[in-house]
């Protein structure tokens, strides 16, 4: 029923790669592995897989980690999607990879089925938000009642609905549960999350630019 997905796994810890490979569903095939920035760029360019699962912190390259890999493969972003997987709790790490072009961010505590699900979701062009990433978004865009976007083209503020979705995700709701809670379809939830991801990538809100500047991305 589920479609098969090829992924490339990028992480500098052999044991962790083995663990991820073992926990993924049968429908998710690991077609390649890399353990530093340069090897990852070469491999991704050669294979052009639909999904790359990569750690935020990677050795090699110019020290830019996962964000550097994504930036170097920026021309592939329409066909190859990146999902960041990290133990880091630091806001600037998360924001750095998202702004570089990653389609989602999950923590390494994620279970195998959830990770497989996230990979398929990213492959389908959707965004994947962990509760913690949703928390960062709310922190960065503010939760004050008056701070609500009025138009769709406004990048620096969230709409009321987007904020509701983010709050539910931060509270630990899955997309399906968010949809039931708000009486909307899963597709609509995905649309909202994608919109938030776009704002996160393009917004010039100063909290975001500050985080990005901390990693010298601007």
């Amino acid at each position: 029923m589920t479609t098969d997905v090829d992924v490339v796994l990028v992480d500098d810890h052999l044991m962790f790669r083995a663990g991820v490979r073992a926990s993924l569903d049968a429908s998710v095939h690991v077609v390649g592995e890399a353990d530093d920035v340069d090897a990852a760029i070469t491999l991704v360019r050669a294979l052009q897989p639909p999904v790359v699962v990569l750690d935020v912190h990677l050795p090699g390259g110019m020290g830019g980690g996962g964000a550097e890999v994504i930036t170097a493969c920026a021309d592939l972003l329409s066909t190859t999607r990146f999902l960041a997987l990290s133990v880091s709790d630091a806001a600037e790490d998360v924001v750095a990879v998202i702004r570089a072009g990653a389609r989602g961010y999950v923590t390494k505590a994620i279970t195998g089925p959830d990770l497989s699900d996230a990979v398929r979701r990213v492959a389908g062009g959707d965004a994947v938000f962990s509760p913690r990433l949703a928390g960062f978004v709310l922190d960065a865009f503010g939760t004050a009642a008056g701070d609500v976007a009025t138009g769709d083209d406004e990048l620096d503020r969230l709409s009321a609905r987007e904020r509701e979705v983010m709050r539910l995700i931060a509270r630990g709701y899955s997309y399906r549960e968010v949809a039931t809670e708000l009486f909307i379809s899963i597709k609509t939830v995905e649309t909202h999350v994608s919109a938030v991801l776009r704002k996160l990538q393009l917004s010039s809100r100063h909290e975001l630019t500050r985080w990005a500047a901390a990693r010298r991305l601007l």
């Binding site: 630091a90 009642a145 630990g172 549960e177």
Partner: protein, 412 residues
């Protein structure tokens, strides 16, 4: 003690430059003996004085015991430095030497002006030696200042003293060389000498700059090294201990996962969090509560915090209610347990969610004090609301909300 203290010139107990005290500490001899030897050596061509001056110049100032402590590996040393003994407030020796030099300079100028004293070359020599001594002692005061504070010890007073020393030395050299020359010729030669000095400075400047840069690099490398030692010490104290503990208890999965979780949290806090002062951050206090529940119940709680504020009575009640709700979720519900805290301008909200079957508030027996009193009652007494949402197949969610207290003088 088998190890010798390093050779330093302590500021405590010194008469002139602290050379004898330092030597005595280094060699393990009584100070009196060292001083006596120095004085006895002096008649032999001034050997004692020369030796003293050489040590004064060559040996850096500092407390030998403290230097010994600093060179020990970071993992073995105390974290908090010992209290420093207060040094002498008034630098009596320096003031004495300074006054002496001023008198000598005055005398010299008087001689130049016409007063006949036949010591015309002894006095300049004295001034020269004194001035050089002052400048040298100044250099090492600068160094001492760097040790004491990171500001660098560049106080106006130290610059003034350095300049004074240089001027006196220059004066001494001039007068010594041009003993019989008239004042006018002296002034002209002073200008010429100054020009030569400036030329030499221009030539030497790049070399000197490079030296300064290398010094900076070296200092940065040392800072990195000490940070690395700091990290190694921390890993040794925490992570390695926990790993050993885990290996010893490997047959008990509950204990292993609890140790791993506690260690992960501690390491995370150490790596990513800024240390907050106690009593200033609700987020930090919430994390403490989560840590306590995780440790005692051995469950993982996914925590997301948005915003932060200074704790008060209302948030205190909110935290205690949150704690009860977390314990309830861990014990009666099913994992994963999620916790969400949001601090907004007008209210603070907490959501605690688990995936268990949940419970109906109406069916909770009156004697179950837990939910009714410790969660709901607590929050309501602070003007807040508490609800328990419970949907079949979607777990249980406790929602706590308290209004923020108005900030004085800040209408919101």
């Amino acid at each position: 003690m088998t190890e010798r203290l390093p050779l330093r010139r302590p500021s405590r107990g010194r008469w002139v430059g602290g050379v004898c005290v330092g030597l005595a500490a280094h060699l393990g001899l009584p100070v009196v003996t060292v001083r006596l030897v120095m004085i006895l050596l002096t008649p032999f061509g001034g050997a004692g004085v020369l030796l003293y001056v050489w040590f004064w110049v060559a040996v850096p100032a500092g407390d030998p015991a403290q230097v010994a402590a600093e060179t020990r590996p970071a993992a073995l040393s105390r974290l908090a430095p010992r209290l420093r003994e207060p040094g002498r407030r008034v630098p009596l020796t320096d003031i004495g030497v300074g006054l002496l030099l001023l008198v000598a300079a005055g005398l010299l100028i008087a001689v130049r002006a016409g007063v006949e004293i036949d010591y015309s070359w002894v006095v300049p020599t004295l001034i020269l030696v004194g001035g050089a001594g002052l400048a040298w002692s100044q250099l090492d005061a600068v160094e001492r200042g760097r040790w004491l504070s990171r500001a660098g010890g560049r106080t106006p007073v130290s610059v003034l003293r350095l300049l004074g020393g240089i001027v006196l030395t220059g004066l001494g050299v001039l007068l010594l060389v041009g003993q019989d020359a008239p004042l006018e010729a002296l002034a002209r030669s002073a200008v010429a000498a100054l020009a030569v000095l400036v030329g030499a400075a221009l030539v030497l400047a790049p070399w000197w700059l490079r030296l300064v840069n290398e010094l900076g690099d070296e200092r940065a490398a040392r800072a990195r090294e000490s940070e690395r030692a700091d990290i190694a010490a921390h890993l040794h104290d925490s992570v390695l201990q926990t790993l050993a503990l885990i290996r010893a208890r490997s047959d008990d999965p509950d204990a292993v996962s609890r140790y791993a979780r506690a260690q992960e949290r501690e390491l995370r806090a150490w790596l990513y969090d800024d240390r907050t002062t106690p009593g200033t951050s609700l987020a930090a206090e919430l994390k403490d509560v989560v840590a306590e529940v995780e440790d005692t119940r051995g469950a993982a709680i996914e925590t997301v915090v948005v915003g932060d504020c200074v704790p008060d009575l209302a948030t205190e009640a909110l935290l205690q209610a949150t704690r009860e709700a977390l314990i309830n979720a861990v014990v009666h519900g099913r994992p994963p347990v999620s916790l969400y805290l949001e601090v907004a301008a007008e209210r603070i909200e907490v959501f605690v969610r688990d995936r268990g079957e949940g419970f109906d508030l109406a069916e909770v027996p009156a004697d179950r004090f837990g939910v009714r009193e410790s969660i709901i009652g607590r929050v309501r007494r602070r003007g807040g609301t508490a609800t328990v949402q419970n949907k079949p197949g979607r777990g249980t969610e406790v929602h706590l909300c308290v209004p923020t207290t108005e900030q004085e003088g800040e209408p919101r």
